[in-house]
Amino acid sequence: MSSSVAPARDVPTLRSLQKGQSATIADLRTADTAAVDEHLRRLRELGFLPGEQVRVVARGFPAGDPIAVRIGHATFALRGFEADLILLAPVARS
């Protein structure tokens, strides 16, 4: 079910979401290494799935890394490169 096409350059990812903004997950990137694959599986297990709503609660200082996101009833902290694995549908108003 997950796409095997590399996303276009301008597809927004969770990394680019601003604090307080919400968005819907479109898909997860495809893995290029076994480690990333395992990480993607863990993200899916935790509920980062297409169709789910995410909202950025906080961003780290100074580089906006890590990112705290609210998904469902849980909050998770992700590094920038992890958030980059999560592709979003065009950003909604928060």
Binding site: R41, R44, L49, D65, A74, A77
Partner: protein, 616 residues
Amino acid sequence: MTDAATLALVGKPNCGKTALFNRLTGARQKVANYAGVTVERKEGRFTTPGGRGWRILDLPGAYSLQATTPDEVVTRDVLLGTQAGEAPPDGIVFVVDATNLALNLRMVLEVTRLGRPMLVALNMIDVARRRGIEIDVPRLSQRLGVPVIETVAVRAGGEQALLAALESFRPVAAAPSAPAPLPSPEALAREVRAIVADCVREPARDQTVTERLDRVLLHPLVGPLVLGVVLFLVFQAVFGWAQVPMDLIEAGVGWCGEQVRALLPAGMLQSLLVEGVIGGTGSVLVFLPQILILFFFILALEESGYLPRAAFLLDRLMGSVGLSGRAFIPLLSSFACAVPGIMATRTIQNPRERLVTIMIAPLMTCSARLPVYTLVIGAFVPERTVGGLFNLQGIVLFVLYVAGVASAMAVGWAAKRLGARDRIQPLLMELPDYHWPHVRSLAIGLWERARIFLARVGGIILSLMILLWFLSSFPAPPPGATMPPITYSLAGQIGRALEVVFAPIGFNWQISIALVPGLAAREVAVGALGTVYALSQSGDDISASLAPLIAQTWGLPTALSLLAWYVFAPQCISTLGVVRRETNSWVYPLAMAAYLFALAYLASFITYRVALALIA
């Protein structure tokens, strides 16, 4: 209770599993290790009102049977029956957080496929109701195919329904069959969504208290400020509140010593008991109040959900030295004592990060350094007020604390530069919802920590104290001896030999000798100095008597050199012992001792020479 069946308590982290375990078993718990791994094994016993006895195993929190951390590997292996030394559990109690069914149900479905007798404990049902979440329990039970019981682990009586259900629960000690094949994550997710849609009614999601708090506590500027204040208050409490209990313990130990001295004739046995055993245990016990107070705050912060936020705020800073925010808690614990701090590194998933954290934990200024710092600062730093507000002695102490942290970060940074080009590690850390810490869990947690600390550290230190007592007492001084007895003993001979090594950094033979028994534990050095200078008081009295003595005989460069030595030197056998346990190898404790002694010598050398040059 030889025929008590075994239940396995499973659930994701932060679902109240341990609170439920505590409520069921009370203090009837046993903590050990799983065979071959450094993962904590918690087993307890309880009896239902109807008289059925159960053994229950609190398995490490796991998000999935597809394990990624050592903790999760153990949970998976125990459930599958493949964990060495563990029979597969007769029954499974899966604890689910009712406020977030969607996240929890996935693994429930995974575990039901194991075909083992199972109950689901729907925990935090009170919080869910408060938030307006309604769960159709019978329907959920039907969809999952297992009984679902409501529990409120933090409230007295909240486990009644579970106990009632366990009366008629029929565990089957069957051989584990191969689990039914798992559908794809997407299919599983669809099934979870369908069940949630069917059984759960909740109001439209607006911002919860947790989110609103996080906006402040994770704010890039306010967040670190709040963290700083919290840490400051904690340290104030640790040092302020601990004074009275510490004085009480010292008085108690002194009293015991007096009693034994009065009861026994002077001689070897009396000396062994008073100085070796009582003096030895006393020097460990006196730190227990500080350790307990610090752990009280750490456990309370952990229970409340704040510690992962602290890890979030510090993640960037720790990243600069090759660690992640997860290293914060073990390093914070190391301020009380590196032994529990190093044990706490089990939560760090990445092996390299875990190793580096272990290696730098002893650089955190632990409470055992305080007697040495206090002695030297008291003798050499004048009691002056700087800027009308700050105590000069306090400032020097603070500088020593900062030196510890700075050196730890420097070593971490060096390890990062020298290490292999490690790909950046993922963080993916859950920030659980905030809730008030539960007094019962805190009490049980503290009791456990105290027990572990006393048993492990007291065991090693006590035996070493006795050993060192022997080394310091034999051979006895020849008749007509003029020096303190210890100089003629084995320890004294070793110390005098060491003086050759230590002379370049300004240590005289008294200090050199004192460092030998001081290897057992840092605080022992003060008592050892007292022995060397032929003093016979104990505790604070030694400090008070020693201070003028060393102020006259040492000189400032030596004093500063000794302080620098203590910032780095691994004068603590217990720490090396726990590193051996946690790494399952002799290489790492030996490497740690080597690099720390090398740094200590270097720092002392530089300090001594610079101080000498400046004063001349």
